[in-house]
Amino acid sequence: MIDRLNPRLLGVALVAIAMLLAPVVFSEQQYLLRVVTTAAIYAIAAYGLNIILGLTGQLSLAHGAFFGVGAYTVGLLTTDRDWPFWSAFLVAIAATTVLGYVSGLIALRTQGAYFAIFTMALGFLIFIVIVRWESLTHAHSGVSGVKFPENIGPIDFTEPAVMYYFVLIFLAAAAYTTHALLNSNAGRSLVAIRTSEDLAKSIGVNVAVSKQLAFTASATIAGLAGGLFASLNGFIGPDSAGIDRTFEMLLFLLIGGLGTVMGPLLGSLLVAFLFEMLQDLETYRFIVLGPIIVLLVIFAPRGMIGYLNDLVPARFKRRATTMPGDPATVPVASPTKSEVH
Amino acid sequence: MIKISGVSASYEAVDVLHGIDIVANDGELTVILGANGSGKSTLFKAMSGVLRPNSGQIEFNGEDITRSSPAAIVKKGLAHCPEGRHLFPRMSVEKNLMLGAYVRRGDKARVKTLLERSYDLFPILREKRKQAAGSLSGGQQQMAAIGRSLMSDPSMLILDEPSMGLAPLITQQVFETIVEINNEGIGVLLAEQNANSALQIATSGYVLAEGRVVLSGTAKELQSDTRVQRAYLGV
């Protein structure tokens, strides 16, 4: 019986149970719950990045800026405009969607490293707007007093555990959507683009439109995560839109496993955990963290998921292959093939 | 002379070659036959240092090159025109050819002669010398790859399916050239699906199957071997 259990499913179930129980486990240490909630929000954003980078193979470095736009939209609307959270949240999602769509129109004309740096510039431009358009954004002063979601009936969102579960819903949705996408035609089209644009065209994939959709969707998800972040923290500053955000998310994604269903989540949790642990090292922590990152990239290049996958007994791998497009074992944008040592 | 003894090689977990023994002499034309996936290209990669064998030994002109880098091996005079061409797609044809002479770059006059030889061999390349190699037609790329491997002025040349994608006229020409090169004293090791033409010009040959040498002999012997006739000569 036991040996018929698929370790993959078992793993997913364990993670799900652990996530559900977090507020109980951390009931005495609320700050850990906050760490996990924050990690979960970043994980949601990482799922967004996963769509454009993990699936479609386009390295977008504007992701942190989209996250910031979502955060600022919720922040400014609920404070300066005194909107309720819920409508501000919807507007944040809509706003990042539009922004993502419009920037995608230009950005996706470029390719490879050009696309990466282009989006980096775009992100920086958004950052400059936030820092310099003081009358709108309060620049460096940031936005204080961002609202929690208003109560729905007896559900009180100021309760950390409630907020956590609220975030968890989106996280689960993001993970599930990734899973569904990977097993769908839409996902296959994206993965096809990642591997070879020409070949993708030849099987009828509308490369331009698919990329545009993927980019827009990734921006939407980043905006959503940003909105949650603003509400959770109550205060946001320009740093929430900075390039550092993007690199953090990228780190989560790579460490978790690019293009996988569980990668963004596991990566975010692991790195959050690592950051927490290393806090005690104070200023030495980057001396440790830097090499850890390098080692992870060298020795677990396919992320934790790739690493765990290698542990899965071969008989389950067969099933894995019938999980189409599951690119747990697929690196992004295949490098020049080479056997040179 | 190249001498391969007991070479085994694999890709990650997949074992492809199992103890291959082959000798190719200077000035001779040795042909390697074998069905698809029998390991011809893998064997060539091991010779040129692109793939490191698990065991066995490769000797070139009496020197052990089993663990040498591809760069060192080319320098010693063993050139490899690989399957899949491996041109530099965004460089011009001429730059590709000139890079072929990377290990001979000191001798400008010789390089010039070599370049002219490649152009004479494939006049279309002279016409297209400014064009990016990646935008050539398939056959033109194959010509560029052969030309590039000749540019290193080798004493032994490994050609992996040189006729692939070439028009019949050009194929004939290429075979004639191979013979010509061979006559100049350069040893040639040739993998070719066009077994008929290959055996016609070859001195000796080996037949690979599933990573093992299953037959070997002079070209004449192989041509008259019934098994070879059935499998490769369509008789």
Binding site: I106, R109, V297, P331, V332 | P82
Partner: protein, 288 residues
């Protein structure tokens, strides 16, 4: 008018700084296939090393810069061996993250050694020159001149030696490069060494008009990426044109429009150029 000339001179000096920093980056792009995000941190390290050799070891200015260049060149070889060589067959995203790891490490390391504070390196060449009413310090003139000389030397080196083509070849097809006799590892190492030596020289020259701090590389980072992309990746003339035009645009926009416009100028130009020519000014074919 004097203001314009003054700002033009300032723009040129800034352009020199940008160029010196950008060319090293462009070089390594060829072998990494991706911009080296630790470049800013290496620049910072170069400045600190120059400071160390100048102030603590008491070397003359030029010797100190060269010593820093040698140390960084060596570090380049070490980095290539330890970090990038093992990653040679990995996708470029991995390189990028690895460079972020290196960046974290270097910044933290410098902080542990030299502390968090600002350091000032005295300019060994004082004084200034009056050009048509504009004041330009000698240090800035040295920067411009060195930038031009280094660029010319490098262009000459890459044209004359096979090294430039070898870098290109490796970037386009590693196996093909090996088969024509290029040693990819050797070329990578040499490229890293040259690139890092260049960045050390840039830092050593700029340090006297700037301050040393562990974060001094950050500001340069984004701008320099914008420059090499603007010019076209891997293109040396591109880095030069990009460096000077962006510097002048930055200075002029902040002079005649606003400081925010100056900050944004770089990125607005970049976006505008790429929207029209997605491969940069001198870029020919799209990168993978």
């Amino acid at each position: 008018m004097t203001l314009f000339i003054q700002q033009l001179a300032n723009g040129l000096a800034l352009g020199g700084i940008y160029c010196l920093a950008a060319i090293g980056l462009t070089l390594v792009f060829g072998v990494l296939g991706f911009p080296n995000l630790a470049h800013g941190a290496l620049y910072m390290l170069g400045a600190y090393l120059t400071y160390f050799f100048l102030t603590d070891a008491g070397m003359p200015y030029v010797v100190a810069i060269l010593a820093a260049a040698v140390v960084l060149a060596f570090l380049g070889v070490v980095l290539e061996r330890l970090v990038f060589h093992p990653l040679r067959n990995s996708p470029h995203t991995h390189h990028m993250i690895a460079t972020v790891g290196v960046m974290f490490f270097l910044v933290a390391l410098v902080q542990e050694i030299w502390g968090t504070g600002f350091l000032r390196m005295q300019s060994p060449v004082g004084g200034q020159l009056s050009v048509l009413g504009a004041q330009v310090s000698w240090q800035r003139i040295i920067i411009i001149v060195t930038a031009v000389v280094v660029l010319l030397l490098l262009t000459w080196f890459l044209k004359r030696s096979p090294h430039g083509q070898a870098i290109e070849a490796i970037e386009q097809d590693r196996t093909g490069a090996a088969l024509v006799g290029i040693n990819p590892s050797m070329v990578s190492m040499v490229t890293f060494a040259v690139s890092l030596a260049l960045v050390a020289i840039a830092a050593g020259l700029v340090a006297p008009i700037n301050l040393l701090s562990p974060g001094m590389g950050d500001s340069l980072g984004l701008t320099v990426f914008a420059i090499i992309i603007l010019g076209g990746l891997g293109s040396l003339p591109g880095a030069i044109v990009g460096g000077f035009s962006i510097a002048i645009a930055e200075v002029m926009a902040s002079t005649y429009i606003s400081v925010a416009a100056g900050e944004a100028a770089i990125f607005v130009i970049l976006i505008a150029v790429l929207a029209i020519k997605p491969t940069g000014i001198f870029g020919t074919v799209a990168q993978r």
